[in-house]
């Protein structure tokens, strides 16, 4: 008999707004860039993690959503064996373009390791792992759109086989100042059943 799992919490960030479990937690009223929005949000959720400022936009987005979710929990993430499975459409394209700019001209060739390391989408998983000391299962997937049918099966398999106790899943997409994060925690406790249909609804909220 399969154990039931739940979506214990979910966070969305898009259009200058962060919401937690369906309720708006933070909103920048006027139109603003991700740079300014992410700084305001960082302060609002009282993050206090100076490494944040060195990260690329995709990692910042993933970390802000994760921080808002974990702040709402009364556990220490380090002790919970929380696996990470994030996905998106554009991989690390935002940073890829920055690295490409630095090598486009042979006479003005200035590739930087601090940029290059972020030309992999899974670096955002590494950043989350470091921040919350998660020595846990992690995988980054790329698909044209959010694939809850696939991700729900993968997450439950990690739980069923004891490879993880909880799974932080979601979609983190950043290109050209457009951003969209939808991150949720799959756990043994909660009220929302962990089902693909539920996630499709929450994702569109």
């Amino acid at each position: 008999m399969k154990k039931p799992y739940f979506i214990s919490d979910y966070v969305s960030i898009w259009k200058n707004t962060l919401s937690l479990n369906g309720e708006t937690l933070f909103n920048c009223s006027q139109e603003t860039s991700f740079k300014d929005f992410s700084k305001s949000l960082y302060k609002h959720i009282d993050m206090n993690y100076p490494k944040f400022y060195k990260m690329d936009n995709l990692s910042k987005l993933a970390l802000l959503a994760t921080e808002a979710l974990f702040k709402n929990k009364n556990f220490n993430p380090e002790e919970e064996n929380i696996a990470l499975t994030l996905s998106n459409k554009s991989g690390s394209l935002d940073t890829d373009l920055k690295h490409q700019d630095s090598i486009a001209d042979e006479t003005n060739f200035f590739p930087s390791p601090a940029v290059f390391v972020y030309t992999l989408a899974n670096i955002c998983l590494g950043e989350i792992s470091i921040k919350y000391k998660l020595q846990t299962e992690n995988a980054f997937f790329v698909s044209e759109s959010f694939q809850p049918d696939f991700i729900t099966v993968y997450a439950e398999q990690l739980l069923q086989t004891g490879k993880a106790k909880k799974v932080l899943c979601g979609w983190v997409e950043y290109t050209d100042d457009n951003y969209e994060a939808f991150i949720y925690l799959v756990d043994e406790e909660g009220t929302l059943e962990h089902r693909s249909e539920t996630l499709k609804k929450l994702y569109l909220e």
Partner: protein, 373 residues
């Protein structure tokens, strides 16, 4: 739990366009690494000849309609799709770190996004399911084996095609150069004179399913896996080999196999100072220091998202021929802890072997395989 097998495999590398040709070249000690002037700086690489690739591809499709990487992926998968008369709803998992990244400098780049590469492959074979791309740095190829196995065990798939590939680009070369991680000689994993990586390109494919191959000399069981993050640094491995050590333990625990049963290790061995040292620490912590081990990077270079799958396929061949391939480029130990690095072709009965990989972002993967006699 359902048992899951790798039934068949294929690969395309500078050493040959199928597994037999590759393994025969390895037995003769051939390496694909040569000096190239195709990039910003002269550099050693293991690069696939595009004319040869186009000639082979022309037998199945129009070479001008696809990028180099797409041709490699399609050509690698083709015999597996034909052999198993794959039904059109078979899932496809594609492993790549950078996809068609060399297209980025073109005015009209083709299929820059990774899912677009996967779609080109999906469409070529007329598959109906949306492919899933795994892009998890240098563990992608090996992680894709673990992911396919997990999805099959969950009961949603009966079988899956897995294909992995990456190409050499100015984009990636310049990035590793900026880290001062590119060797100015062919790479020498674990050796005291090692100076960093050599890049390579390759594609590799496997068919994974719950059914054992009809040919009993081909199937290996995927017995256990782990893919655990170091949670330490995004561009440097853990000093204690934490994530790799835990990944190995997870693989052995799931397989319920004692560490003393491991007959052979196909390690990552990139020939950077930090990677090789980290592996030596992790393998010693796991009490695997006496187990014969190689890195195939001295033959193929670092083929990024292809490496984990390519090296798995070569190791399967090693297991069935009971022959261990030497870790080319290794002469004198340049790591602080002992490892049993293979120096010459050796006969050994192999039942269990371990494949590992590690990469940027602190990721690691270990998979234990069992040869089915």
């Amino acid at each position: 739990m359902r048992e899951v097998y790798i039934n068949d495999s294929n690969c395309i590398t500078p050493l040959g366009f199928d597994v037999q040709a590759n393994f025969d070249a390895l037995l003769e000690g051939k390496s694909g690494i040569v000096k190239s002037t195709d990039f910003h700086k002269a550099v050693y690489v293991s690069k696939i000849d595009e004319q040869l690739l186009n000639k082979s591809f022309a037998e199945i499709g129009d070479p001008s309609a696809y990028t180099k990487l797409e041709k490699m992926l399609i050509l690698t998968l083709k015999p597996l799709v034909s052999e198993y008369s794959i039904s059109k709803d078979t899932p496809l998992i594609v492993s790549t770190t950078k996809g068609n990244i060399d297209e980025l400098h073109h005015t009209n780049p083709r299929r820059i996004l990774l899912h677009e590469v996967a779609q080109a492959v999906t469409d070529f074979f007329g598959l109906t399911q949306q492919a899933i791309v795994i892009s998890n740095a240098c563990v992608s190829g090996l992680l894709s084996v673990a992911v396919a196995k997990r999805m099959i065990q969950a009961g949603v798939y009966e079988g899956a095609l897995v294909v992995a590939g990456d190409i050499i680009s100015e984009f990636v070369l310049s990035g590793f150069h900026s880290f001062q991680a590119i060797s100015d000689t062919p790479c020498r994993p674990y050796d005291e004179s090692r100076k960093g990586i050599t890049l390579g390109e390759a594609a590799a494919a496997v068919y994974i399913s719950t059914v054992k191959s009809k040919n009993p000399t081909q199937a290996v069981k995927i017995s256990g896996d782990g893919a655990i993050n170091d949670a330490n640094h995004i561009s440097g491995p853990s000093r204690t080999g934490e994530g790799l050590y835990k990944s190995i333990l997870a693989a052995l625990e799931e397989a319920a196999v004692d560490v003393t049963a491991v007959d052979f290790i196909s390690a990552h061995g990139t020939a950077t100072h930090y990677n090789d040292e980290m592996e030596a620490i992790a393998f010693n912590r796991a009490s695997l220091e006496h187990v014969p081990l190689n890195s195939l990077k001295g033959y193929y270079g670092h083929t990024l998202g292809a490496s984990g799958l390519l090296e798995t396929i070569i190791s399967i061949e090693s297991a069935f021929r009971n022959v261990l391939i030497p870790s080319v480029g290794y002469e004198t130990s340049g790591i602080s802890q002992p490892l049993n690095i293979i120096k010459n072709n050796q006969q050994k009965d192999i039942k269990y072997f371990l494949k590992t990989a590690s990469g940027f972002g602190g990721c690691n993967t270990a998979v234990l395989f069992e040869k089915i006699a």
